[in-house]
Amino acid sequence: MEKQWFTISVYAENNVGLLNRISGIFLKRHINIEGLNVSKSEIEHVSKFTIVVYTTEDWTRKIVGQIEKQIEVIKAFYHVDDEIIYQESALFKIASRLLFDERQIQNIIKESNSQIVTVSRDFFVLAKTGRRHEIDEMHDALEPYGIMQFVRSGRIAVTKAEMPITSILAEFQEQ
């Protein structure tokens, strides 16, 4: 089976040990977690893990099965890129003088649709939200001029179709 990108969405109770439990499942099968984001979800007191992996569908399905089996996990889903709307964010810290010395930088900022978050005497910070390749392109464009710091977040995603979590939510509210 061919490897591809999968986005795994896990709805779970807030629990300190759960991240350890979930990451252990990937560790056991030597699957690298390419992106990880934990946040609250649309359901009150329920958190959502968004995990990105590059592997086969067969393995993804098995992993999702093992994740779902964890006591605190309410439901886990996996999707391919076509089925979701997804983004990542990145921050670039760059020396302020470059803004004046290197004309090209201004063009990069404009073309990349990024925002200047802050400017100080020594540095300014650019924020970019988008697809991984867009962020990579921006990174490559800025690199020759010198990037003081760079960080990119894990992927966050919502599905195009309805997440069949709503019925579970309804069940919860009855309780």
Binding site: A12, G17, G65, K69, I71, Q175
Partner: protein
């Protein structure tokens, strides 16, 4: 709704008693019907031990001689009784010594609750004396675990621990309790846990899948059942038997499924897997419908998956959705508790007899009998065989004993030849293959089924891994019968070395102590047998004993267990020699 909740809360408060966390733990155990726990004290759990002292008329604590022994004893207890086994230990080394037992219980789905003491909350993370992150360490080997740092959490967490350990596919749960939480007071009220909203222990049976299964079974010419421990855990022994008989389907078992169906049942065709029977393995690749019930297609069962039952339609009765299509792609998955799903299946199944198909198993059995079984159980050569010892135990026990085995050749031989009439009788470490399991597990088994005879059959290697538990047998005068099959080798590893490493016996030859003297040191009646002529008498004497009894049988040093599927080979390529 809010007012209802508030009312409930105030009612709860009225019933509450003010006690310490340590005492609360005892009340939780009592409320869960626990009257026996295994453990070992130490600094971080001392407040609980102090309460155990006060409650000793209601709750028996058995001091195993090592914490690993406590977990295996709890497992043995759980496996014979179907109840939750409980083990307790202190923080640090006490807690880490539980890990092997937790891993064993996890892979063999055994309901166990382990309670560990932990350093006080304010010292967590400071590398305090005997602090170890047991919650982190035990995460991959527990069904659930939790660290309690406030006394007020105790009732809810303990209730949840028991509920999770025994519901659905059972497993081990660890509750780590900081020392301050044991000392602090709380308003104690106990309410049993009846559900956890994110956890669905038993999937709802889907009638469509059951109908599809029935159709496959009704149209099958060569249907074949392989059942595992799910039948025992799901209390589905009667339903399994009814299915086997009504549809006339030959049925084989995994070692954890052993004893779910009478070993002498005419349709019980034996054991699958690496050292299983010839027919059940070879015919896996000839059946047209394979009906897997409460088993998980472990690699020791399937051999090479690329050549496993490819010709067959596969039906999988399973409680754990994560097991479906994990190793073997199935055509019909029937999720649910086996008792419930088989019960729904039964009326849809047409009566049948598959005489010709069953005859193929008989034919294969004859081949195996002539090549292997005969020589194992009625040997004509000089040295004693493990098989003849098991055969003698069968005769003396009349198939009624609980048999506990360790790991290695003696385990495979015992599972191959032992006879059972009753479920929950075969206690062994299957999935993890934990040497050292048997002696402490036999202690738990005896205490969980006091009216039954319990015989532990152990290799000389594994025996020495937990030999200190003889102290428990002696102290509590537990009439466990211990049989050490002494081949002066780590037999199973030696066998692999002989077959696959050109007989280079790297570290598998042992110079053993005088086992009889050791048992005598614990004041346990004991005997050594090295001659065939004495065997029957020794086993009869052992079985007749009302007290613990130790029997060492000197067996042939370099016997091998056959049949055997070499690792990575197909079930069809099982070797008879």
């Amino acid at each position: 709704m809010e007012t209802l909740k508030a009312q409930k809360e105030s009612k709860k408060k009225e019933k509450a008693i003010k006690i310490t966390g340590a005492e609360a733990i005892i009340h939780c155990l009592l409320a869960e019907g626990v009257d026996l726990i295994y453990g070992y004290p130490g600094g971080a759990i001392m407040p609980v031990y102090d309460e155990l002292y006060k409650f000793q008329d209601k709750l028996t604590h058995v001091l195993t001689r090592h914490e690993q022994g406590a977990t295996h004893a709890a497992q043995g207890y759980a496996r014979v009784s179907g109840k939750v086994g409980v083990a307790m230990a202190t923080s640090g080394p006490g807690a880490t010594n539980l890990v092997t037992g937790l891993a064993d219980a996890q892979i063999d789905s055994t309901p166990v609750v382990c309670i560990t003491g932990q350093v006080p909350r304010h010292l967590l993370g400071s590398d305090a004396f005997q602090e170890t992150d047991i919650v982190g360490i035990s995460t991959p080997v527990t069904k659930w675990n939790y660290q309690v740092t406030k006394a007020s959490e105790i009732p809810e967490i303990m209730a949840k621990a028991f509920y999770i350990a025994k519901s659905g596919r059972p497993g081990p749960v660890l509750v780590d309790i900081t020392k301050n939480a044991q000392f602090e007071e709380l308003d104690f009220v106990y309410e049993k846990c009846t559900g956890v909203r994110s956890y669905k222990p038993v999937p709802e049976p889907d009638l469509k899948s059951i109908e599809a299964a029935a159709e496959l079974i009704n149209n099958a010419k060569k249907p074949y059942i392989v059942f595992g421990q799910g039948v025992i855990l799901g209390h589905a022994e009667e339903e399994l038997k009814a299915l086997v008989e009504k549809a006339g389907i030959p049925a084989a078992w995994t070692i954890l499924g052993l004893s779910a169906l009478d070993t002498d049942h005419p349709l019980n065709v034996g054991m699958v897997g690496m050292h299983g029977n010839y027919g059940p393995n070879v015919l896996t690749n000839e059946c047209d419908v394979l009906i897997a019930i409460g088993m998980r297609f472990d690699d020791r069962v399937t051999g090479n998956l690329d050549t496993y039952a490819k010709q067959a339609k596969v039906i999988h009765f399973e409680i754990d959705p994560a097991e479906i299509n994990k190793n073997v792609k199935v055509d019909v998955a029937v999720l649910g508790n086996a008792k419930q799903t088989l019960d729904l299946l039964l009326p849809l199944v047409q009566p049948n007899e598959h005489k010709e198909w069953k005859a193929e198993f008989d034919k294969k059995y004859q081949i195996e009998y002539d090549e292997v079984i005969q020589k194992d159980i009625n040997p004509t050569k000089q040295g004693l065989t493990m098989g003849e010892v098991v055969e003698q135990i069968n005769v003396a026990s009349q198939h009624k004993a609980v048999i506990v085995t360790d790991v290695g050749q003696h385990q495979m031989i015992t599972c191959r030849y032992v006879k059972f009439k009753q479920s929950k009788s075969n206690i062994t470490s299957g999935g993890l293959g934990t040497m050292g399991f048997a002696l402490p597990a036999a202690i738990g088994a005896k205490m969980g089924a006091q009216e039954r005879e319990v015989v532990a059959i152990i290799g000389d290697g594994g025996y020495q891994m937990t030999i200190q538990e003889l102290g428990v047998i002696f102290q509590h005068n537990l009439a466990v019968k211990i049989v050490v099959l002494n081949n002066d080798h780590l037999g199973m590893v030696r066998q692999w070395q002989e077959l696959f490493f050109e007989s280079r016996y790297a570290s598998t030859v042992m110079t053993n102590p005088d086992f009889v003297k050791i048992a005598e040191g614990y004041h346990i009646k004991s005997r050594r047998v090295a001659e065939r002529g004495e065997l029957k008498d020794a086993i009869e004497e052992m079985m007749a004993s009302k007290e613990p009894y130790f029997l060492e049988v000197k067996v042939e040093k370099e016997d091998n267990v056959f049949p055997m599927i070499p690792s990575g080979a197909s079930v069809s390529d099982i070797r008879l020699k």
